[in-house]
Amino acid sequence: MQGIDRSTMDSSRRHALRAGVGLGVFGLLATLGLLPKSAWAGVDRKVFEAKSLKEAFQAMGGLAPVDSNLINLDVPETAENGAMVPVTVESRFPRTEQIAILVEKNPTALVENLTIADGTEGYISTRIKMAQTSSVIALVKADGKFYKAVKEVKVTAGGC
């Protein structure tokens, strides 16, 4: 049991280091939490430059978000207009701290990041741009851990 845990940890550390290099020194510092956060709390702006999902997850501190059925991600199966794709995320975790929406195949993966205050529901409904058919990911932080829900959206006309 312990052996398995250790190997998982080592591999996530390697991923974290690799992502740090990918994002440059800023990314690495942000990953390590050494950079000041943007004026209004949340993630460092550099996270929005992450090209891949992996880079974005790691820069946000969620090295390996776990799939959870406590997150309801509502997206259309097919979007005729990629410039305006409705997305609703509902987290049923009792203490949802953060909700982020990501699109795997957009030029930059992170679309928006929300900090949920005490007394605010783990719910957001919004509209996003999608360049092409892709997975849409709802990333949720609850009790200090990261969880996700993933759905594919077919895009007939890209809007990025």
Binding site: S38, A39, W40, A41, G42, V43, R45, F48, A83, M84, V85, T88, V103, N106, P107, T108, L110, V111, E112, N113, L114, T115, I116, A117, G119, T120, E121, Y123, I124, S125, T126, R127, I128, K129, M130, G159, C160
Partner: protein, 103 residues
């Protein structure tokens, strides 16, 4: 000059639902105009919603949020007649704050 955020906030059973439609072009910096020139990036980077001075929701946008961003969210503690303030700032430093009365 930017335009006011269109908002509606209604309280039902102690939960206030806010529907905010931010008025912004949300240019990605990757789109070309008719003459083939890149249109410079211009998008909201940060927003904040406050009820009686307490932040109920805040967040950051990248360039992939749709033009005239929509946000629907819900919080506890609001009463009819209370004010909800919504502020945003964009990558060029333009800022605005608008208020709505919870109904």
């Amino acid at each position: 000059m930017s335009n006011p955020t269109k908002m509606r906030a209604t309280v039902t059973n102690g939960v206030t639902e806010v529907r905010a439609l931010l008025q912004h072009e949300m240019e990605t910096g990757r789109r070309k105009d008719e003459s083939g020139k890149l249109v410079p990036a211009c998008y909201i980077t940060d927003f904040k919603a406050q009820h009686n001075g307490r932040t109920v929701l805040e967040g950051q946008f990248g360039t992939s949020v749709s033009k005239n961003p929509l946000l629907v969210f819900r919080f506890k503690g609001g009463k009819a007649g209370d004010k909800l303030a919504f502020s945003w700032t964009d990558n060029r430093g333009e800022k605005r704050t608008d208020e709505v009365t919870i109904g």
